[in-house]
Point group: D2
């Protein structure tokens, strides 16, 4: 930590700051310049709150020089983390596409949609059973029945399953059905839940909160990693800005930024990130071109009658076409998408 | 709802939109102008997602004409809600000040701070026992022991107590100790928790999420009201903007806006809203001048050694001075602050 | 325009609103529902300020149903605008890359950089002579000497030239040298300048202000179009959000949004949009994948010694590699990049 | 400047960074810790771009330790600047209220409004002659005729006059009529204009851009100060955030922040900051309570028929009442408002 004193700071003020720092366990190096004094502080603890020094008299600024997270940082682990779930590898050369309906609604809807996304090359089925809805009057999901439908369809089509956990109390139930536990944007700082997930062994897909900085997002990942669960994948899904034409502004630049700061895989959800079906394909292509390790896309066999998020769900044929476009783009940066499925399709599927 | 068609929309497209609306339970009134067709849709359900129509071919825009919340709106209840807790009235003429430490740490710290805030005119003791911390390595609160310390001090000084509930699983315990359950900004859209609080009878103080629109905030209040708990007070605590000098930008204009849209009392937390002790007093004064029904302020008997948020906690003498300033400001808009305490002080306290 | 009255609006209030609207030149259609009255207003003028009605007693909301811009909208011109400058076509199938140094500094620097970007496939040379710098102490550009250097290099390498105009007083001078006049983000609402550019015949590249909504951006384009200059291309260069890791958040979703609302070509500047050299390539790829009609990229023969923006300027070899990646991506959406140059390189250039 | 190297930075990388810094004119102090190397760099120039070092291999972060502005900082001048214009003092104990119509429209409108604001206690008449309008189809102001009307009314009522300059070409004309030149939010970074204003002797009121950080705002002030014009007052008028209920979010906390960083007076414009007449009074009270040195308020003798911004203009009687409220609030922080007028009113005016 570096403490910059004001130009007019008195020696008494400097001494008081040094005393405080020493009292907090730091070693202090004082550098007195022509204009101002700068203090370097080494040691102390990671959870130290720099604002404690910032408000002292004579202090101009306090500059932290280590990230507040550790296990999530690339400093801790220089090589990419690849998460293995059976034969699925997230974070490797292949860009993983997770697709499916916003919510499980009926057996037929789940089956039709699952068959469609599998055919197009998805490797993971996504679908909700417990839905976080901003209005208490909206459809709240089928609960366990939804999980049962999704698991059945995923098994029939040899897909992995990801679904959202909304509360600690659902953990035991969810783990019986899903391969990946999704933490939604609104729960990104539900620390009670994150801590429990750290004790679980199921991989976690952690969405970025709509106003979370990248540092806060990595700190939330740290909660899970610190508990011992190292299988965390991150998912950008749009941040809130002044622009209101799109529901959120999908922060594509978060992809290369996170990949520099952390070793964890980073995925993108263009469906929630835009909120409109006609913007999903361009943003999905952009995400892959920018280097995303995977995508989460809402597809529905009949979006016009979906019980939730129909407006942002793709029709199966739109999804097909998008996958074909992505297969052209991925090689530009040395990645691939669902090669084996493509191969099989070449044989007549 | 009003559906505006594009200028070049075909009659077939218009007919398709009408058919969809009718299928969703709306009555439709068609108005064909020189330039474009506009459809008025009446009926339907409150939870209807307008984006379903927005993505249809030929549609330019869909305009909702009712708020998505009902019980929280001033349309539903034109007069102000006054929440009564014993002899405390929140939302009446008196501006209620809730003050105390960020976290309960020791018996002595709680007692000294409580005595100080009571003396200055606070009516409610605030203090945390379970702390939501963005880093897993930070102090997480004393738990039930903290609640016990806070309750004891509140009782000794004849104050009400507000403290934060972080998870559903803490509800039963919290209700044994506190008069007001605080829902933190990060939990504003923890719908599982909100729904349970709707079934509780303890009043709730609902903080605004740092990137929540006012509409989303009122929808979260609606979750609690819809469950039958009508004692909800709102609390603005800063929104996230591009300006990084202050931790958040305290949205003072939210006070008059909420007071127009809703009948619920609205408080302001300038401590979290600014994150810096030296900015708390100006923003507290601004909040009262703008018409806030109350304030939440962090005060600590020894902020330099606080285990959390010391940098934004006021010293007791700063708080004293602030209260004196507020007593001058409040009458400008026909409000008062802690009159009886002032009276008693006049008698020599 | 649709005026939604409050549920409890009196008939007197409704009549007052109607009288106001009629006085402003609107025809009014009144629709009285079970819950509330809605007024449809037709006619009036495009410049009407809806807030005038919004603040009247009894009014809940005013909803505008026409865009405030006309010439810039796709309603006005359904097909894409293609801007032709000699043999250059912006807005057609080819994705146009404009590249070059932030500022012209010396003859050698301009020549070396121009040769490099030409070789890699750029069609337009970009470079600054008048620099808008946020600090008065920074390098402010070479002025006319810079324009002379840039024009010379562009001519030698058969490239078009784009450079920024900062003030009305520079117009005559700039038009002697450049093929495209760039309006910087900070001048997007310099209406005095925009109006003059409407009278000019040189094509204009209009950057989006860092906090401009898409509607405001199109309104600024409207200023130029309304003056008779129909050759306007738009350029997204990042918006300001709470995320501070990147200098701005490049709004990739603005590409498909603008393409839906307007017929004008839309380009992207990933250099200013990210502010860091190592983030330019991923964002340039993302922009092309999302459908951008062109790119503006800063390249410098020796970025470490650039007088401005060196940190976001690419090395020539990085730019080469990026262009190769873009040539793989563009066909995914039926676009091409600099085919003839590629062909010529095949002949040994 | 402090350069933090990555934990795994090689000695070669450290040496390269040191060489670069020395080449840029810095003296470098190297501190090698257990975990990482930190370099302190002293000297160099104020306009140095830290990103040049940030992008070098092995560098984790670069921390600047001096503000990029000098003359605007409180370090340069610890005591408050008081700007004197005749008998008017801006930045002293009195809170100065500047009020008047958005635009001059007719002789009668200007006279009636001026008389009203004078009677209520305003010290400066505000009014526009050249209007920056986001749509080319809106009323653009009366030009010189407007200035003539405003000057006449100001003189008749013994008020000072502030009006907005939109372009360099208007400077000579404006200086003949006004006492204070207003630079609008959209021109805050029109550096060509700012530089000229630095050479002028007329005091300048510099509005904050809607997405300008406080640092950028002070840098724009620096442009004017650096030219020799030390009479600069700052004016907060709302920043752009995700909240769309109010046109902008008035950043009340900017008042104490600027007062800590700079010696220049800071005013607030609650009319543009909220965009709605019914929110002006609460925000004006909040600004004074937070310590603003003055206010800019739009008042119109007949807002319903104003040619611009009628929705945010107060009726004269609303303004009267607001002034009465402000006279109660100001003493809470040792300020006053228009004492002599109050006195004179006591004598029968």
């Amino acid at each position: 930590m570096v403490v910059v004193m004001q130009e007019r700071a008195t020696d008494e003020q400097v001494q008081h700051v040094i005393a405080q720092l020493v009292g907090m366990g730091f070693d202090v190096h004082r550098s007195t310049g022509a204009l101002r004094t700068v203090l370097g502080a080494v040691g102390g603890t990671r959870e130290f709150d720099p604002r404690l020094i910032e408000v002292l008299d004579g202090v101009q600024e306090v500059l932290r020089i280590t990230e507040p997270y550790k296990l999530a940082s690339r400093t801790f682990r220089p090589e990419n983390t690849v998460i293995t779930i059976g034969d699925l590898r997230v974070g490797g050369d292949e860009v993983i596409v997770m697709a499916g309906p916003c919510s499980a609604e009926t057996e037929e809807q789940v089956e039709t949609t699952t068959a469609a996304v599998k055919r197009a090359g998805a490797k993971v089925l996504r679908g909700g059973a417990f839905k976080p809805r901003s209005s208490p009057y909206s459809f709240q999901g089928l609960g366990e029945e939804g999980l049962r439908l999704l698991r059945g369809a995923a098994d029939r089509h040899n897909l992995k399953l990801v679904s959202e956990i909304m509360d600690l109390s659902q953990l035991e139930l969810m783990e019986k059905y899903v391969d990946i536990l999704q933490v939604g944007a609104r729960n990104m700082q539900n620390f009670t839940l994150l801590r429990e997930l750290g004790r679980a062994r199921t991989p976690v897909l952690l969405k970025r909160g709509i106003s979370a900085t990248i540092e806060e997002w990595l700190l939330s990942a740290e909660y899970i990693l610190a508990g011992g669960n190292m299988n965390v994948m991150l998912c950008e899904r749009g941040i809130r800005t002044f622009e209101s034409y799109t529901r959120n502004t999908l922060d594509i630049s978060a992809i290369p930024v996170v990949q520099k700061l952390s070793h964890l895989p980073v995925l993108v959800d263009p469906s929630h990130g835009t909120g409109r079906r006609d913007k999903v394909a361009p943003m999905a292509r952009a995400a892959v071109a920018a280097g995303a390790d995977g995508l989460l896309i809402e597809v529905h066999s009949d979006p016009d009658h979906a019980l939730s998020d129909g407006a942002q769900s793709m029709f199966p044929n739109q999804f097909d076409r998008l996958m074909a476009e992505l297969r052209i783009i991925a090689p530009a940066i040395g990645r691939s998408i669902c090669l084996e499925t493509v191969a099989r399709r070449g044989w007549g599927v």
